[in-house]
């Protein structure tokens, strides 16, 4: 079994308006030292998945189903208290907006110390030294001074580095980064991504990057999982997804990325329509109302839920279009328009 393995994970939220199926049957595997990028729009279920892995839905209103295996332990059925002991130590998370994700009233140092001392019985002095080390490790200058600074006293990039330091302070084996660069400038983004790559190598951690930004996963991810409407609709290596994408949604994502090497007068190709309601998921293929090619499925798109099927060597796609049709559309229609300059 892989280091992290999800088997048909379901996270449903009962509300007054109905059952919200945020994650509806998600499976994937990840080894240590490898990076998985989970891509999708807002509301596709990416963050809910990561919170589910961390066990942060326990005690709430969510209903969990399926299995989460971490280093041989199953977490969905495990007690909340046991999962709590793993949080921060075995698995850690880096959040999107470090300014709101860190407590404004405590110094960065004290927050890192706190994270460290939950799982390590050491004195404050030792923990403080460790915190200074971590801050240095993530590239913050003068860490012995900055350890007593408050979150709002850092710049955006430095703040995210501090957040990363906090997440890594207990040597976690699984690291989940939820939109780690979304709140940062583009130049700073690159630095952070480099940092994360280096740290992953140093710690040999399994890294999941959750983002809506394909550019980010292009940098870091070994494998990419595209989510839509609570389900995985395409899964493969980075090369599979970028060179040989086979799902109309993935094509749309690739097409809607602004690229510097394209002519500015060329219009972006957005995906028409908006993300589906997770309470009333469209019948059949969840993407079909927005799919340009649904008329080529012979009516199945609106009636039958497509299964996740292997198209070639580990590359999985969930679509009613026949494989040949997909590949031909890719070669003839999509790919040329993407490369046009």
């Amino acid at each position: 079994m892989s280091f992290l393995e999800l088997k048909d994970l379901r996270v449903h939220f009962p509300t007054d308006d109905g059952l919200v199926k945020s994650v509806d049957g998600l499976s994937f595997a990840l080894e240590r030292g490898k990076t998985l990028g989970i891509v999708g729009e807002s509301g596709s279920g990416k963050s809910v998945t990561s919170l589910g892995i961390l066990g942060l839905h326990k005690g709430g209103r969510a209903k969990l189903g399926g299995e989460i295996w971490l280093d041989g332990e199953e977490l969905v059925g495990a007690s909340a208290e046991h999962v709590r002991t793993l949080r921060g130590k075995k698995m850690a998370m880096i959040f999107q907006d470090p300014l709101s994700a860190m407590h404004p009233f405590y110094t960065v140092g004290s927050q890192i110390i706190e994270a460290y001392r939950i799982h390590n019985d050491v004195s404050k002095k030792v923990a403080r030294k460790h915190a200074i080390d971590m801050l240095g490790r993530v590239g913050i200058p003068q860490p012995d001074r900055r350890v007593d600074s408050y979150p709002h006293e850092f710049s955006g990039g430095m703040r995210q580095r501090a957040m990363i330091a906090m997440a890594l302070s207990c040597d976690p084996e699984l690291l989940i980064a939820d939109e780690p660069t979304t709140a940062l400038d583009v130049t700073v983004q690159a630095q952070i991504l480099d940092l994360m790559r280096d740290l992953q190598r140093d710690f040999n951690a399994a890294l999941i990057i959750i983002t809506h930004d394909l550019g980010v996963v292009a940098e870091l991810a070994d494998d990419i999982l595209v989510m839509y409407g609570g389900k995985c609709i395409e899964y493969g290596t980075a090369e599979d997804i970028f060179e040989r994408p086979e799902h109309p949604y993935t094509w749309g994502l690739l097409g809607s990325m602004p690229r510097l090497d394209r002519d500015r007068t060329e219009r972006l190709l957005p995906i028409k329509g908006s993300p589906p309601s997770l309470i009333n998921v469209p019948a059949g293929c969840a993407f079909h109302p927005r799919c340009t090619f649904e008329d080529r499925t012979g009516g199945k798109a609106s009636t039958e839920v497509p299964q996740l099927v292997e198209t070639e060597g580990g590359h999985l796609v969930r679509c009613h279009l026949p494989r040949d049709t997909r590949r031909s559309i890719w070669e003839t229609e999509i790919k040329p328009s993407l490369e046009a300059s």
């Binding site: 942060l56 130590k89 959040f95 709101s100 860190m102 407590h103 404004p104 009233f105």
Partner: protein, 337 residues
């Protein structure tokens, strides 16, 4: 930070001076605007059998014929250096700060205030401890168990606490607990703290609880609202993600975040209360400065009323300053400028 404190202190002194001028004006200028003469003002000081001649002499002696600025100057001087008063066989020095002396009781005001301040402070601080603990705890629990029976019951009782006036709850409590069941002391009983701390606390039990009931309600609601907000913040999610125990998350991260408005309100409430918990002291006949004020107002004893007004203003100004400073301590994002 230090410059900020100094600047605020200077401003506080200015503030208090302004308050003293306004108070002085209310008592000695406004009646004149309404047509009162020096004799009318002096009439309050001389008792009911004084002849017109005596009233005139008193008006002169009390300085009501002097220009207002001079009168205020004399008053201000008294506060700073003290004044003398003639008590018949001799002349007594009223040391600074001399808030004047009451012509009705023939006693200087400041020693009275000093004597009564511990009572009000005892009442206010004791009740404050109770209402903060009870109110905040209830608020936290209500927020965590939002929608539960506990939450609804607690908020209903809170509503009752805020709606029922202290003279009602006080009177009923006295009749029920002090005179009926005889488990608490009668109204008017007060033992100074230094005499016997145990009796001091026992005497104040009923006033503390009824007064705290009034305030705890507001604090429970405030805390509940604050907690509901902070518990939804991202840093709470981070705290949990770090693997912290839920209790630590709630108190160290959640409550700490909700603290600022509670602190502000607390400072102001306490400041006002120290200026005289008028209703509570009247209901329980406690000899604090609130009761002093109400008795003085009833008797129209102006020097006493002025003295209490200035003391109350002092506490409010100080409370404001302390709250502002604490704000910066609690929330490091606040920059004191």
């Amino acid at each position: 930070m230090v410059t900020y404190i100094i600047r605020r202190l200077i401003w506080s002194v200015v503030m208090l001076s302004i308050v003293s001028i306004i108070t002085f004006a209310i008592f000695f200028l406004v009646p004149r605007l309404a047509g009162a003469t020096s004799e009318d003002l002096a009439a309050r000081y001389v008792g009911r059998t004084a002849s017109a001649e005596q009233v005139k002499v008193a008006a002169e002696k009390l300085g009501f014929n002097d220009p207002l600025v001079v009168q205020y100057g004399r008053f201000a001087k008294g506060i700073v250096v003290g004044a003398d008063y003639d008590y018949g066989p001799g002349v007594e020095r009223c040391p600074a700060p001399c808030f004047g002396y009451s012509f009705l009781t023939r006693l200087p005001v400041w020693p009275d205030l000093l004597d009564r301040l511990p009572v009000t402070i005892s009442l206010a601080l004791g009740a404050a401890v109770i209402w903060v603990i009870a109110g905040v705890a209830t608020g936290v629990l209500s927020a965590l168990k939002r929608g539960s029976f506990f939450d609804r019951a607690a908020m209903s009782i809170a509503l009752a606490g805020v709606s029922m006036p202290i003279f009602f709850t006080g009177m009923v409590s006295l009749v029920l607990f002090s005179y009926g069941l005889k488990i608490t002391v009668a109204g008017g009983t007060y033992t100074p703290f230094l005499t016997n701390p145990a009796t001091w606390a026992y005497d104040l039990l009923l006033p503390w609880i009824t007064l705290a009931f009034l305030y705890a309600a507001g604090y429970a609601r405030l805390t509940r609202a604050g907690m509901l907000e902070t518990m939804n913040e991202d840093y709470i999610r981070t705290a949990r993600a770090k693997g912290l125990r839920e209790r630590t998350v709630v108190v160290k991260h959640g409550l700490r975040g909700a603290l600022t408005p509670i602190l502000t309100i607390f400072g102001l409430d306490l400041g006002l209360l120290l200026g005289g918990a008028v209703l509570t002291e009247s209901t329980y006949s406690l000899p604090g400065i609130g009761k002093y004020a109400i008795d003085a107002i009833g008797r129209q004893d102006l020097p006493q009323v002025m003295g209490v007004t200035l003391v109350a203003a002092f506490f409010v100004v100080v409370a404001n300053l302390v709250v502002d400073l604490l704000y910066a301590v609690v929330d490091p994002r606040v920059r004191l400028v």
